[in-house]
Structure formats: structure tokens, C-alpha cells
């Protein structure tokens, strides 16, 4: 039982962590919490199933196409829902614009794809049963790869430094001549690709289902609340913790009471550390 709790808890936690990273990547570049994060994750599973199972493409081609389309959705998010409201961030208009785009993505998927969950292909013929099943280890592997890749990007590459610069202070970055808008678009494309990886890796776990988007948007937000907004390490630790606690609550309490228990645990955690585990308390000049 313990192996099952850990395997499935870490797997679903890794998906939450990846969606948390999508939120963070979008937020860093724009200071906007885009609710499309979960929908892009949902599209990763739906598009993977579409390309591989329905269209018969190879898994590699299907994966690359999924990433391309999800990146494009990320860019569309920036153009349609973020850019128009950037000048009025203090009014939180992005809540409306990103939510509207979220609803549109969900409804179009429901109409064009299916309102019932659809299967996602098994990509690796190893560990068909038990904790080493693809649906458990693949999301974890994807999360690790994305985390390491982002660390490398942000610490070792020039474009990564540019991303960090606009995340730190976009006015100063612009003053230094950095193309802020292009970097923001690239950042949204990157976050779209990360969402695609999350959905694709979790395809067997979550199935290709249009309603996953709302669930991922919701649970993907929790890791960044726990870990600290804008902090990918916090998102990973928070996501994995959320997954394991959620699965443990499923075992201990069962049924819908598990969700209540999960949120009780995290409300207590946030009361204890309001800025999140890895977040810094905001200093206000008086």
C-alpha cells in the first residue's frame, strides 16, 4: 500500500508541479497569473492522443507536434489575454481575459474532441503493473527533465539570463535594451511547451479528457501557493507534497473527504508560512 501511495502520489504531484512551473514561467515574464496553465496541460494529453492514436503518427512526431501546438497556445495566450491588460495590471483584468480564454479552450476541446475521456497510448512497454507503470514514472521523469532543463536555461544561457532580467525588473531590463515583448512571447511559448510536456507525460494517468484542464488549473495553483510564487523549486516540492498528501488522504479517508483533508492540511501550512516555503516575505518601505 505504501508503494502505491508514493508512486501515484509522486506521479500526480509531478503533474501539479509542472503546471505550477507553467504558472511561474508565465508570471515571471508578465506578472500575470494565467489560468490557461491547466488547459494547456489538458491539451498536452488530448493532442498526444489525437496525433498518436487517431492520426497514427509515431510517438516522437506526436510528442513534437504536441509541444509545437501547446507552445502556439502559449503565444496566443500572451497576445490575446495578457498583452492587452498589461498596462492595467493593478485592476486584475487578467483574471477575466485569461479565464475567458480558458473557457474557450475547454469548450472547443469538448466540442471538437469528445466529452468523454479518451485513451492515451502506452509509450514504453515496461512496468505494466505496480509502481513502475509508465503512468507513474513518466510524469516524474518529465518533471525532473523540465526542472533540470530550466535550471540550465536560467543559469547557463544568455537567453535564460535575459528571462531572469525581465522577471526581476522589466523596466530596468528594457532600459538595458532587452527586447522585453519578444522575451515575454518566448516565455509564454516555453510555458506552453512545459504544459504540453505535463499533459503528454500524464496522458495515461489522467486520460485525454477535456475536463482535466479545470482540475489542473486548480491543483496546479496549490504548489506555487505552498512553494512561493515564481519559485520553481518551491513548485516542485509543493507539487510533490500535494500529490503524496492527496493520495495518502485518499487511502486514509477515501472518497470525496480526501479533498477536504488535503486542503485542511495546506491551509494550516499556509497559516504557518504565509509566503510559501521558498518565497520571501515582501519588504514594504514605510
Amino acid at each position: 500500500m505504501l508503494a502505491s501511495i508514493i508512486a501515484s502520489g509522486l506521479a500526480i504531484g509531478a503533474v501539479y508541479a509542472l503546471i505550477g512551473i507553467v504558472y511561474n514561467t508565465m508570471y515571471s515574464a508578465s506578472r500575470v497569473m494565467s489560468f490557461t496553465a491547466g488547459q494547456i496541460g489538458m491539451l498536452g494529453g488530448v493532442l498526444g492522443s489525437l496525433f498518436i492514436l487517431r492520426m497514427g503518427l509515431t510517438p516522437i512526431i506526436g510528442f513534437l507536434l504536441t509541444l509545437a501546438v501547446c507552445s502556439a497556445i502559449g503565444v496566443v495566450t500572451e497576445i490575446v489575454a495578457v498583452r492587452p491588460v498589461l498596462s492595467k495590471l493593478d485592476q486584475h483584468l487578467y483574471v477575466l481575459t485569461t479565464l475567458a480564454l480558458t473557457m474557450m479552450i475547454q469548450q472547443v476541446t469538448a466540442i471538437e474532441w469528445s466529452t468523454e475521456p479518451q485513451p492515451f497510448p502506452r509509450l514504453f512497454a515496461i512496468g505494466e503493473r505496480g509502481p513502475f507503470d509508465q503512468r507513474f514514472w513518466l510524469p516524474l521523469a518529465a518533471c525532473a527533465a523540465v526542472f533540470v532543463g530550466l535550471e540550465f536555461l536560467y543559469r547557463r544561457t544568455l537567453i535564460g539570463h535575459a528571462f531572469l532580467a525581465i522577471a526581476e525588473d522589466n523596466y530596468a531590463a528594457r532600459a538595458l535594451g532587452l527586447p522585453e515583448r519578444n522575451l515575454r512571447v518566448a516565455s509564454f511559448a516555453l510555458s506552453g511547451a512545459i504544459g504540453g510536456v505535463a499533459g503528454f507525460a500524464a496522458g495515461q494517468l489522467l486520460l485525454a479528457f477535456f475536463a482535466n484542464g479545470a482540475m489542473l488549473s486548480f491543483y496546479g495553483f496549490v504548489p506555487i501557493a505552498i512553494g512561493g510564487l515564481g519559485n520553481n523549486r518551491g513548485a516542485v516540492v509543493g507539487g510533490l507534497a500535494l500529490g503524496v498528501v492527496q493520495q495518502a488522504c485518499n487511502f486514509i479517508f477515501g472518497g470525496i473527504f480526501a479533498s477536504v483533508a488535503v486542503f485542511l492540511v495546506f491551509i494550516v501550512a499556509l497559516l504557518a508560512v504565509p509566503q510559501g516555503m521558498f518565497g520571501m516575505a515582501t519588504v514594504r518601505r514605510v
Binding site: 500526480i12 468523454e116 475521456p117 507503470d133 477515501g254
Partner: protein, 396 residues
């Protein structure tokens, strides 16, 4: 006012002429019979609506192609509620206030029907129900509401009888999703087992979007369940439960909701054999015999409909029950020469063993649950063919 012989002599021919004129006017009434159809046609609870809509479209086209009901065409006023009670309420309000429908079929989702039933009852519009929640039918509070499908009390019986009498298993786990239907169906099923000396060792509502059902399956096994009785229309939840059962290597029988036989479940299973030992509730008129044939009346319908509408990826009972619902309205108008609510409701209240495709319905002023319990059976979930299922082992 004084009545004189002369007045009567003059009045009688006038009255006769007036009645004749009214009869001519009525005979010439070619206005359409408007039937409201608020249904979840998209969204996660849309599987029944999609199947029913095929039946509705087919029978309306067929009646209209044959000249309508005494010259009156049937016109559906369809609104997609997406399973949302608010949208369903808005839809029925619009149907009654603006479209002036003569009858309403639906909604086909219990949560929506709970919201719409009192509203429709206030206007007295004849309402055919296809939802299970037992309290939806109350002949005193809602004299306009008639149910053509089994209620949850009736539906609780076949799985319980199958577990106890045929499989000889008395310790059961009763689970459902967290929707209005799932919650009430679990309560009714648990009460039904307890009333009949059944031992409910586990009872739970489960979030249908939960990605891993292993925790719940392990809890059921630890509780000592010998059979699992699920109540949900969520094919994803059913498939995850069956995949978890397969991964555990626990061959516990699943005995419950019709949705377990949906083709969507088959697509989501990791191995085809995970569908074995699964029995979904079925209906005599939609069950295949050993020779693979349906009862004569239903077989005739299927033979006639084949090629004119799709019978795949849905349940036959959803199609034929919808056909019956429209036919019930059409027959009421035809037999009473009126589409008034009083005429339609009055006609339905007189029906005894009305020969529908889905069932032989019986309604009376004091009984609006028209589906006969003895037409409920259990089926082999993996045996679907054109939406019909083979009878489960143990039935003759």
C-alpha cells in the same frame, strides 16, 4: 335573463353551427406540436443525451414524414444544458414562456431535473422524466410529471438481487460519483441492501476525476467486499476502477449502473479482460437472447432504424426510451384531439401496459412511475451489440 321558447329555437341551430365551426377549426389546426427538449448534449454527462437525441430525431422525422399527428407536425425545441442545472432552468423557462411548448421531455440529468421539476409543475406543462431520483415523481406536488424509466428504488433491486440470489454474495461495497445522481443512487442502493439483509461493508462518494482509484479499491478490499456496486455515468471513473481492479489481480464482480457497458469504458481499459465479471443493469426489451435476438417489438424497430441512424457507441435503451417519450406525446394529442396540458396529462393517467419499445408503461392519477420493475435485468457489460446487451448468467 328570461329564457323564451323563441330564444331556444333560435339558439339551438346557432349552437350547433358554432360547434361545427369549432370542430372544423380544430380539424384544420395545423399548428406544430411543440415539445421542449432540455438535454445535456455536450459536457461530461452528455452520453445519455447523445443517445436519446438520436431516438428523438429519428421518431420526429418518422412521424412528420408520415404526415404528422392528425396533420400537425412535431417540432422539437431543443436546448443543450451541458448538464448545468442553471442552464436547464433557463431553458425550461424559455420553452414555457416564449416558445409555449405543449410538453417537455427531460432534462436527462438528475441534478438538472431536481431544479426544473417544480418550475415546470407550476405551469402544469406535461413533463416526461427519464431521471432516477425517486423524489422527482410526486403525484400530488407534481401532477404533470411522469417517469418512463426506473427510479433509483427500482434500479437498486436488480444488482442487489443479482448479488444475493445469483452470485450468492452478501457483503458489498456501494459507491457512486459525487453528483446529485451518484449521491442519491448510493443512498437508495444502500437502503435497499440493508432492507433485504444485505451487508454493506463500504459506502463512498468518489470524485469522478480522481486520477487513481487504487486507494478506494484497496479500502473496499480491506473492508471485505465480495462485490462492488457502482452508481455513476462517468465512463472514466468506471474504467479507472476496473483498471485498478486488474492491477490488483482482484476478480471482484462489479454489479451496477448501465454505464459500465458503454463502449467508452472498453476503450479506456488497459486490457480487454479487465471487462470480465462486470454486470450492468439492463432492460428486458433491450436484451439479447442466446440467439442474439431482441424481443420482437424492439427487433422490428432496430431492423427498421438500421442505416437510418447510428446505433453504435450508445445504449439502445437511451434511443428507444426517447422514441417512447415522443410517441407518448404524439399519441396523447392524437387520441384526445388536443395538445392542451389537461388533455395530455389526462390521457397519460389512463394508460395501462402502454406498449412502448422500452417497456410497457402503466400510469394512473396516483402512480406516475410508469416503468414496471419486472422488466429490469442484469446484463454482461462487455457484450454490447448495437447498443443491446446479452442477459447476465443466471437469467433464463
Amino acid at each position: 335573463m328570461q329564457i323564451t321558447r323563441r330564444g331556444l329555437t333560435l339558439g339551438a341551430p346557432l349552437a350547433v353551427a358554432g360547434r361545427a365551426a369549432m370542430r372544423r377549426a380544430r380539424a384544420a389546426d395545423a399548428s406544430p406540436i411543440l415539445i421542449g427538449y432540455p438535454a445535456a448534449l455536450t459536457g461530461p454527462s452528455s452520453a445519455p443525451g447523445v443517445g436519446q437525441n438520436r431516438g428523438v430525431t429519428y421518431i420526429v422525422d418518422r412521424i412528420n414524414a408520415a404526415g404528422g399527428v392528425k396533420g400537425r407536425k412535431i417540432q422539437m425545441v431543443t436546448r443543450d444544458t451541458q448538464g448545468d442545472p442553471t442552464k436547464a432552468v433557463n431553458a425550461v423557462q424559455e420553452m414555457m414562456a416564449s416558445d409555449k411548448v405543449h410538453a417537455i421531455f427531460g432534462p436527462n440529468n438528475s441534478g438538472e431535473a431536481l431544479a426544473t421539476t417544480p418550475i415546470v409543475a407550476r405551469r402544469g406543462i406535461p413533463n416526461i422524466h427519464c431521471c432516477g431520483i425517486t423524489s422527482l415523481i410526486d403525484e400530488k406536488k407534481f401532477p404533470n410529471a411522469f417517469r418512463q424509466t426506473p427510479n433509483n428504488d427500482q434500479s437498486s433491486d436488480p444488482p442487489r438481487i443479482y448479488c444475493q440470489k445469483i452470485l450468492k454474495l452478501n457483503k458489498v461495497a456501494v459507491i457512486g460519483d459525487s453528483t446529485g445522481y451518484g449521491t442519491s443512487a448510493v443512498t437508495d442502493s444502500v437502503n435497499n441492501f440493508k432492507k433485504n439483509a444485505g451487508d454493506v461493508v463500504y459506502q463512498a462518494q468518489i470524485d469522478a476525476t480522481q486520477p487513481d482509484m487504487m486507494p478506494d479499491m484497496l479500502r473496499m478490499r480491506e473492508a471485505g467486499a465480495q462485490a462492488i456496486v457502482p452508481w455513476t455515468v462517468s465512463t472514466g471513473m468506471i474504467a479507472r476502477l476496473l483498471n485498478a481492479r486488474g492491477a490488483m489481480g482482484w476478480d471482484v464482480p462489479f454489479v451496477g449502473h448501465q454505464a459500465m457497458g458503454s463502449g467508452e469504458v472498453g476503450h479506456l481499459l488497459q486490457k480487454p479482460e479487465y471487462w470480465n465479471n462486470v454486470f450492468n443493469e439492463g432492460f428486458k426489451n433491450c436484451s439479447l437472447d442466446a440467439a442474439g435476438k431482441l424481443p420482437a417489438r424492439t427487433q422490428d424497430f432496430v431492423d427498421h432504424a438500421r442505416g437510418k441512424m447510428s446505433l453504435v457507441n450508445t445504449s439502445l435503451w437511451w434511443i428507444v426510451s426517447a422514441v417512447d417519450a415522443i410517441q407518448l406525446v404524439a399519441d396523447a394529442v392524437s387520441k384526445t384531439d388536443s395538445s392542451s396540458p389537461e388533455a395530455i396529462i389526462g390521457y397519460w393517467n389512463t394508460l395501462t401496459k402502454y406498449p412502448g419499445l422500452f417497456a410497457d408503461y402503466t400510469f394512473s392519477p396516483t402512480q406516475h412511475n410508469g416503468f414496471p420493475s419486472d422488466e429490469l435485468v442484469m446484463s454482461v457489460a462487455s457484450s454490447e451489440h448495437d447498443g443491446a446487451y446479452a442477459l447476465a448468467p443466471g437469467y433464463t
